[in-house]
Symmetry: C2
Subunit: 128 residues, 2 copies
């Protein structure tokens, strides 16, 4: 049995994309529509994915380019390639990035909708 098939296929119903729009969580800001228990459970892992210095830089690097090869990401960090892969996987599972293999190389790009949704969520419109 292959353990290898799930790589770029797990676009993983991107936690964010799976949030029903009528819940307003992704379109109205933290303060105006309080995050429910269920939404918090969906959204927290996305923030957690950004909650590591390595992954935050990765997202930033990838976001600055239309797409970026793993072979260009790896040398920017003093980490083993296994660890790099691990972080990229977490970012994928969070729905923040997506990837595609082309020949020997694997290219990553950001999911703008995911970042945008978080941005909107945090854009507080002060109450009272």
């Amino acid at each position: 049995m292959s353990f290898y098939f799930g790589m770029c296929q797990d676009r993983a119903m991107s936690i964010l994309e799976s949030v029903p729009r009528e819940q307003a969580v992704t379109c109205c800001g933290l303060a105006t529509s309080p995050v429910t228990q269920a939404d918090a459970v969906r959204l927290a892992p996305v923030f957690k994915a950004l909650g590591d210095p390595v992954r935050l830089r990765m997202v930033s690097m990838i976001a600055a380019q239309p797409e970026l090869c793993v072979c260009e990401i790896t040398p920017a960090f003093d980490l083993s390639s296994g660890t790099i892969s691990h972080h990229l996987k977490l970012l994928r599972e969070a729905g923040l990035v997506d990837c595609e293999r082309r020949g020997t190389f694997v290219y990553y790009w950001v999911n703008p909708e995911a970042l945008g949704a978080l941005s909107t969520l945090l854009a507080v419109t002060e109450p009272a």
Copy 2:
């Protein structure tokens, strides 16, 4: 020796506030100005603070009100008061909320600048 003095006093040079503006990290978006190693180390803990369902809901609850007493936050969660305090402390240390004791009660409110900075950081303007 008192271990108790640092409660609301550690407004903690709010990681975000300590980011020099000329670095442009907090005002121009992830993609347009890649996050440096140092910035990532400062910013990641803030995202990490939001990376827990309990804390995410807490921030949301607090953000929805001008201010909120701990005694109103606690019953919303099925957690001991010690755990509630722990989470609130992390949010304080991340610079996301601030608090003040008034008599017996302690009131929390969000730091809009911190949330706004994160929001701006994630507001991607697509490259290329």
